[in-house]
C-alpha cells in the first residue's frame, strides 16, 4: 500500500479539515469552554455534530451500525482535532472504547454502540494507576461475587472520567500485580454504585479524574472479552489508542508549526521580517523535516494496524515516540519564536504547548515507547 492517502481518504481529509477548522477551532471550542469553566472540558454540541458527520462510529463495524473504517481514517480526523486543539471525546470514545467493544458481547455492543454512533454517549478508559503509563502492572481488583464481580481500587488520569456514560476499566481478576494474565476488562456504567470521581482540570484545560472503585458491583455481562484473558483486548485497545494519539500529536505539531511559520512572515524586528533571519529559518526548516517524518511514520503505523501486520506494535511505538519528540520541538520552537507574545494567554501558541504536554503523557511518553522499541527489537 502506498504511504499516502487514497482518493477516498483524501476526500475525507478535506471534509474533516474544513469541518473541524470551522466548528472545532480554538475560539469556538477550547477557549469557549475553558473560559466558562466547563466541567466537561468539551462541548456536547460538537460531539453531536461529529456524529452527524459520521465520525463517531468510524471504527465501529458496519454490522454494528458503524462505518467500518480503519485507523488511517480515524487518524485523519484526529490530526485535524490536534491541529485545532479541539477538545473532544473522539480518542477515548471512538478509538479506545470502540476498539475494546469490538471484543464485547452482542449484548454489550447493543447497549453502548448506538449511543456512541449518535453522539449521545461519551466513554472513558481507566487504565493507569500511577502518574506514568504502566499498563504492564494492574492492581485494581475485581473479585468474583455471585454472578458478577466486585471492583476495588483506584485509577488516575481518566480523561473525561466524570462526564463519561461508561468507563472501560482494566482490572485484575487473578494473579499478581505484574502478571500479564489475569486481567479482565469491564464496561462500567456511569451510575454504578461505589464509584467516585475526583475531577481535576489539567494543564490543557481538559478534565480528568482520579476514579475510585469501592466495592463496585458489576454484573457478569459487564465483562468485555474473556475473564482473565483481557490482556489481549487491553493490548488491542492500547495499540489503537497509541496510533490515534500519534495522529493527534501530528496535528498538534503541524498546528504549532503553521502558526509559527506564519508569525515569522509577519513580525518585524530590526527593520526586517524575523523570518528573514537565517537563525530562525534553519530552525523552522529542521522543524518542518521532523514533522514530515513524524507524519510519515504515523501513517505507516496506521496502515500496518489496519492490515493486521505483526509489525504494527513496533511501528505504533515508533510513531508515538517520534511524534512526542516532534510535537515537543514544535511547541517549544513555537513559543520561543513568538517571543514575549508567545507567553501570553491571548495568543494560541501557548495552548499548543499545554496540549502537547498532556497528550505526550497519554498512553506512554517518548521514553516509554523508545524503551518498548528496544524491547520489541530484542535489546
Amino acid at each position: 500500500m502506498p504511504l499516502y492517502h487514497n482518493d477516498d481518504q483524501a476526500m475525507l481529509a478535506d471534509t474533516a479539515r474544513g469541518f473541524i477548522a470551522e466548528e472545532g477551532n480554538i475560539a469556538k471550542q477550547l477557549r469557549h469552554w475553558r473560559d466558562r469553566d466547563c466541567k466537561d472540558g468539551f462541548g456536547h454540541g460538537l460531539w453531536k455534530q461529529m456524529a452527524e458527520m459520521g465520525f463517531t462510529g468510524m471504527l465501529v463495524d458496519e454490522a454494528d451500525g458503524g462505518l467500518g473504517m480503519g485507523h488511517v481514517e480515524a487518524g485523519i480526523v484526529l490530526e485535524e482535532i490536534g491541529r485545532n486543539l479541539t477538545p473532544s471525546p473522539f480518542l477515548t470514545s471512538s478509538v479506545l472504547a470502540a476498539t475494546a467493544l469490538k471484543h464485547g458481547s452482542d449484548d454489550l455492543k447493543g447497549r453502548y454502540l448506538p449511543g456512541l454512533i449518535t453522539g449521545d454517549s461519551v466513554f472513558a478508559v481507566a487504565i493507569d494507576e500511577t502518574a506514568k503509563h504502566r499498563p504492564e502492572r494492574i492492581t485494581t481488583r475485581a473479585e468474583k461475587s455471585g454472578n458478577g464481580f466486585k471492583l476495588s481500587g483506584a485509577k488516575s488520569f481518566v480523561i473525561q472520567g466524570a462526564s463519561a456514560d461508561m468507563i472501560v476499566v482494566a482490572a485484575r481478576t487473578s494473579g499478581a500485580d505484574d502478571d500479564a494474565d489475569g486481567i479482565t476488562l469491564f464496561a462500567v456504567p456511569k451510575d454504578a454504585a461505589g464509584m467516585s470521581h475526583d475531577a481535576v482540570r489539567l494543564v490543557d484545560s481538559s478534565m480528568a479524574t482520579h476514579t475510585k472503585f469501592d466495592g463496585v458491583e458489576l454484573d457478569g455481562d459487564a465483562v468485555i472479552g474473556e475473564i482473565d484473558g483481557g490482556r489481549a483486548v487491553l493490548d488491542a485497545m492500547l495499540l489503537a489508542g497509541r496510533v490515534g494519539a500519534a495522529a493527534e500529536g501530528v496535528g498538534v505539531a503541524r498546528g504549532a508549526m503553521d502558526m509559527t511559520v506564519d508569525y515569522l512572515k509577519q513580525r518585524k524586528q530590526f527593520g526586517k521580517l524575523i523570518g528573514e533571519f537565517q537563525a530562525l529559518q534553519h530552525r523552522a526548516s529542521h522543524l518542518y523535516s521532523e514533522v514530515e517524518i513524524a507524519r510519515a511514520v504515523t501513517i505507516k503505523a496506521q496502515q500496518l494496524l489496519d492490515g493486521g501486520s505483526a509489525n504494527a506494535e513496533l511501528m505504533a511505538s515508533v510513531a508515538k515516540a517520534k511524534v512526542a519528540k516532534t510535537a515537543r520541538l514544535a511547541v517549544q520552537e513555537g513559543v520561543q519564536m513568538h517571543g514575549g507574545i508567545g507567553m501570553t494567554d491571548e495568543y494560541d501558541i501557548g495552548l499548543y504547548m499545554k496540549r502537547d504536554r498532556a497528550l505526550a503523557e497519554f498512553l506512554g511518553d517518548a521514553y516509554y515507547h523508545a524503551n518498548r522499541v528496544a524491547e520489541l527489537s530484542g535489546y
Binding site: 502506498p2 504511504l3 499516502y4 511559520v261 515569522l264 512572515k265 526586517k272 521580517l273 523570518g275 528573514e276 537565517q278 529559518q281 534553519h282 523552522a284 526548516s285 529542521h286 518542518y288 523535516s289 521532523e290 514530515e292 517524518i293 513524524a294 510519515a296 511514520v297 501513517i299 505507516k300 513496533l314 511501528m315 515508533v318 510513531a319 515516540a321 517520534k322 519528540k325 517518548a366 521514553y367 515507547h369 523508545a370 524503551n371 522499541v373 528496544a374 527489537s377 530484542g378 535489546y379
Partner: protein, 397 residues
C-alpha cells in the same frame, strides 16, 4: 500481483544461477566495489562473472529501457529485484557516477544519439565518469563557478580548476559545469562531457581525514572540447548556456541517493545489531547508551517510513519538488548519528586504525567518511535554506 510474484520467483532462480557465492558477502574493502572503466581490473573471476551476467540481463541499471542497456523494469519490479538481491546479500555488480548521476540526466535531457552511446557504455561499465561541479571558490554557491569555456566555433577551449572531484584520477570522462557566458549568471553555464585523457587535464589527489584519497583537484589548461562527438551526439547535455537546469536536476538525484531515502542501511534500526555485536565481544551496553540507541532507532525507523512515503509520492508526482532537500538533510544527519553510536558501542576496539580485528579500521574510517554526507551534494545548511525558501516560503530566503 500474481505477475510480481512470478517475477520474484524468476528473479530468485536467476540470482541463484548467476550470482556467485563470493558475491554474496558484505563489501569489506574498496576493491570489493567494481567501478568499471577503461582501466578497471577485476578482483577475481567471480566479480567478472557477476558483472557480465548482470550486463547481459540489464541488471546493472534495471529500470533503464532495454535499448540503453537496462532491463526496462517497472518500479515495483525493481523493488522486488532489490529485495531479492538484499535477501542473499548480493553485492552491487557495478557502482558508478554514470549510473547514479549522469544516466538520469541523460535519460531526461539527452538526445537519442547521446542515450544510445553513453547510456549503453555506462550500463556495461565501460566508461567511468566523474562529476566536475565544485571549484575552490564555488562550493555551496555553485553558480558562482569560474571555469571558462571560450567559444571557438566547433569547439571550446576550457580553462579553470575544479575541486573535490571524486575519483577524478581514475575516471575516463567527466561531466562538467563550464561557464560559457560571463554576463549571465544562471543562464551562462554549459553542461559538458569530455574525456579526462584530453590534453591539458591534470588531477591531483586530496587525502581525507579517513586516510583515503577518493577525490582530487582537477585542472584544465587550454583543454579543447569539441561541440559534437558525431551525428546527434553533442558534447553538452541540454542546451548551451542552459546547463544549470541539468545540474539542478542531477543534484536532485544526487541528494536523493545520498539521503538513503530508498531505505538502504542508513534508514535501518541498529539497536539489536549493536547488542549482538557487544554480546559477541563480551562488552556491555550501558543503560544510557541503550537509551540513545533506542531513541536513534525511533528516528531511523521513522525516517525509513518517510523514505517509503517519499518514493511512493514521487511515483505519482505528489512529492513537493524540494522534498529531496529535506530527505538529504534528515538522512545525512541521521547517518552521522548512526556512526557516532557504532563507535560508542565499539569502544576502544573501534579505535584500531590498522588491525585485522577491525579490517583495517573499518568502523573508524566509515565513521569519518559519514561526516562528508552533510557536505557532499550540498551542505545541510544549504538544504535548510532551500526548505525555508521553497517549501516554507519564508521571506528573503
Amino acid at each position: 500481483m500474481a505477475d510480481l510474484e512470478n517475477f520474484r520467483a524468476e528473479t530468485r532462480a536467476w540470482l541463484e544461477a548467476n550470482c556467485p557465492p563470493e558475491m554474496r558477502e558484505p563489501v569489506r574493502g574498496e576493491d570489493d566495489i567494481y567501478w568499471g572503466g577503461r582501466n578497471a581490473t577485476f578482483k577475481n573471476d567471480a566479480q567478472k562473472a557477476w558483472l557480465e551476467a548482470c550486463v547481459a540481463k540489464g541488471y546493472t541499471v534495471p529500470m533503464w529501457p532495454k535499448e540503453y542497456g537496462g532491463a526496462g523494469l517497472s518500479a515495483p519490479e525493481a523493488k522486488v529485484l532489490r529485495e531479492e538481491m538484499g535477501r542473499i546479500n548480493a553485492r552491487p555488480p557495478l557502482s558508478s557516477f554514470g549510473i547514479w548521476m549522469l544516466g538520469p540526466a541523460l535519460l531526461h535531457f539527452g538526445t537519442e544519439g547521446q542515450k544510445q552511446r553513453f547510456l549503453n557504455e555506462i550500463a556495461r561499465g565501460e566508461i567511468r565518469w566523474c562529476q566536475g561541479y565544485s571549484e575552490p571558490g564555488s562550493g555551496s554557491d555553485l553558480v558562482s563557478l569560474q571555469t571558462f569555456g571560450e567559444d571557438k566555433g566547433d569547439h571550446w577551449v576550457v580553462n579553470g580548476q575544479k575541486i573535490w572531484t571524486s575519483y577524478a584520477d581514475q575516471a575516463d570522462w567527466i561531466f562538467c559545469l563550464v561557464r560559457t557566458d560571463k554576463e549571465n549568471k544562471y543562464g551562462g553555464i554549459t553542461f559538458m562531457l569530455f574525456d579526462m585523457a584530453s590534453e591539458g587535464v591534470t588531477t591531483k589527489p586530496i587525502k581525507l581525514i579517513s586516510g583515503s584519497s577518493p577525490f582530487c583537484e582537477t585542472f584544465f589548461d587550454n583543454v579543447s572540447v569539441p561541440k559534437s562527438y558525431g551525428d546527434d551526439v553533442p558534447a553538452y547535455v541540454g542546451t548551451i548556456n542552459r546547463g544549470w537546469d541539468v545540474a539542478k536536476y542531477l543534484l536532485g538525484h544526487e541528494r536523493e541517493m545520498i539521503s538513503g531515502a530508498d531505505g538502504g542501511e542508513r534508514a535501518a534500526a541498529i539497536g539489536a545489531a549493536m547488542k549482538r555485536h557487544a554480546a559477541k565481544t563480551g562488552d556491555d551496553i550501558d543503560p544510557v547508551l541503550r537509551a540513545e540507541l533506542a531513541m536513534f532507532d525511533v528516528d531511523a525507523l521513522a525516517y525509513a517510513a518517510m523514505g517509503e512515503k517519499f518514493l511512493d509520492e514521487i511515483k505519482v508526482g505528489k512529492a513537493h519538488p524540494a522534498q529531496p532537500n529535506m530527505m538529504k538533510y534528515a538522512g545525512t544527519e541521521l547517518n552521522k548519528r548512526r556512526h557516532e553510536l557504532v563507535m560508542a558501542v565499539g569502544g576502544s576496539r573501534a579505535l584500531e586504525w590498522e588491525s585485522e580485528a577491525t579490517e583495517n579500521g573499518k568502523p573508524s574510517k566509515a565513521w569519518l567518511r559519514t561526516k562528508a554526507n552533510s557536505i557532499e551534494g550540498g551542505t545541510s545548511e544549504v538544504m535548510l535554506n532551500v526548505i525555508a525558501k521553497r517549501i516554507l516560503d519564508l521571506p528573503g530566503a
